[in-house]
């Protein structure tokens, strides 16, 4: 009973809010350009579905590509750092600078570097930059999280530096890496959308461009439709990664 209630609760709240919104729009005669009713947004989603789906896929593929790049670079860097403690000292402050710099602030610069003809490269790079930090930070923390007595076992048998990283520190870091990738994936989507805004109109027609375009034409229902698709995409990706993380952790712990 309570299990069922737990499952239904978020949907029930959503339904109540949507109903209130619908009723308020109709009763108060709110103009559609200001706030369209949910039913109107739903019609816009259905009408625009092919365009929205293509745009969503464009944004999602950029985010996933960025996640992949960030994952490879962050983990490789973390391993290199794990092999050379002095490098860690050197790299950490730089990594923090990358973390605290807002992506919109560097977007214009990266757009120049990528070249006027290749805004998609700039967007990919910016999204990767945003997704990099949580993965890198998780990897660095994780590489230090090995059981100290297990480290002593490796000392005892004269393990090489590489053996220690590959057979102890990296496997010990797996829970931290999983968490880092989950956070990084969410940030990659945000990064992709923000970077698309930064790139402005035309070049890359993802979800952000849909929102911008609809906004310029005062088609508020289309704006909210694109936002809804973006939200749904984020929720789906998060749920997927959460499930992946859970099963991977179950494997790692052995139960």
């Amino acid at each position: 009973m309570s299990r069922l209630a737990n499952r239904i609760a978020p949907f029930a709240l959503l339904a109540v809010l949507l109903a209130a919104w619908e009723i308020a729009c109709r009763a108060l005669h709110v103009p559609a350009y200001f706030l369209p009713a949910p039913s109107q947004v739903a019609r816009a989603i259905v009408a625009d579905l092919p365009t929205l789906a293509a745009a969503a896929w464009r944004t999602l593929s950029v985010a996933l590509g960025a996640l992949l790049i960030a994952s490879v670079v962050a983990q490789a860097l973390a391993v290199v750092i794990g092999l050379h403690p002095l490098l860690e000292r050197a790299v950490r402050p730089l990594a923090s600078i990358v973390q605290v710099t807002p992506v919109v602030a560097i977007a214009p610069l990266v757009l120049i570097w990528a070249g006027i003809d290749h805004p998609e490269r700039a967007i990919l790079a910016l999204a990767a930059l945003v997704a990099f930090f949580p993965i890198f930070s998780g990897a660095v923390t994780g590489l230090h999280a090995a059981d100290p007595d297990l480290e002593r076992v490796f000392d005892l048998y004269g393990a090489s530096r590489w053996q220690r990283v590959a057979r102890l520190r990296l496997p010990s870091a797996i829970p931290f890496l999983l968490e880092g990738h989950k956070v990084g994936a969410g940030l990659a989507i945000i990064g992709a959308v923000v970077a698309e805004f930064g790139a402005g109109s035309g070049g890359v027609r993802g979800l952000a461009w849909q929102i911008l375009d609809a906004g310029n034409k005062l088609q508020t229902d289309r704006m909210i439709a694109a936002l809804t698709v973006l939200g749904a995409m984020g929720v789906a990706l998060h749920a997927l990664l959460e499930a992946a993380e859970r099963s991977a952790l179950r494997w790692w712990r052995g139960r």
Binding site: L156, R253, G254
Partner: protein
């Protein structure tokens, strides 16, 4: 001739001050020595010195065993959760460059020696505390060490399991005969396991007394109820109390 020896070693830990010493101890081949002392007396530090995992601030550590010939069993099983029991036991061999298949075969054999022949594929999380400790013991024995160091290995286990494990360790010792240094704060366990009990003072630990334990090893059934065992345990307790009171 000793397997490992500490000569007047002292260990200082910066701000925390002195942890151990001056302390001397020599372990003969095939001898079982128990170190007994209150918490914080530096027992585990002494063990890490004997293992070569730490260096003394002053004094000298002499170790005969080469790479891979010293094994340590810690208070917790200290197994890698992502590896099967067999892979955990094979780890020391693989680190030393033994081919994977040979290492796995020897690991399976070592698991058999500690009575876990069937737990080969199990993960540590699927084992009970006592079984996990046995896997840890198998990992220590798989390299046929000359020196086996046990750092309160049974402290987290229930009485029945710890007694069974104590007998197992003695049986394994009888089979391969490594020198054993055994750290504990349980007097009866020390007397039961060791042929020599070293009582340490509160930190920084020094030697307060050294008591020889008679009787045959492995211990015969009912050894704990013999007058000899009771008298020795009483003597060790007295020295320990005296050392703590001083």
């Amino acid at each position: 001739m000793s397997v490992a020896a500490l000569h007047d070693v002292e260990v200082d830990y910066g701000q925390r001050g002195r942890a151990l010493g001056p302390f001397s101890l020599s372990v003969a081949p095939g001898e079982i020595v128990a170190l007994v002392g209150p918490s914080g007396c530096g027992k585990s530090t002494a063990l890490r010195l004997l293992a070569g995992l730490e260096r003394p601030t002053r004094g000298e550590v002499v170790r005969a065993p080469g790479r891979g010939e010293t094994a340590v069993v810690f208070q917790a099983p200290t197994l890698a959760p992502w590896l099967s029991a067999c892979a955990n036991v094979a780890l020391p061999l693989e680190l030393a460059g033994t081919p994977k298949q040979t290492a796995a075969a020897r690991a399976t054999e070592a698991l058999g020696r500690v009575g876990l022949a069937k737990a080969d594929a199990a993960r540590p999380a699927q084992l009970s505390g006592g079984m996990a400790m046995r896997v840890s013991l198998a990992r220590a024995l798989v390299t046929e060490p000359k020196l086996l160091l046990l750092d309160e290995p049974f402290a987290a286990l229930d009485e029945i399991t710890r007694r069974a494990l104590a007998d197992d360790v003695l049986a394994l010792w009888a089979a391969s005969g490594p020198g054993i240094v055994f750290v504990t704060h349980n007097v009866e366990e020390a007397v039961y396991m060791a042929s020599r009990v070293v009582v340490m003072t509160p930190g920084p630990g020094r030697m307060a007394a050294e008591i020889a334990v008679g009787g045959e090893t492995p211990r015969p059934l009912g050894f704990r109820t013999t007058p000899q065992f009771r008298a020795t345990a009483e003597a060790v307790s007295e020295r320990l109390f005296a050392a703590c009171a001083a």
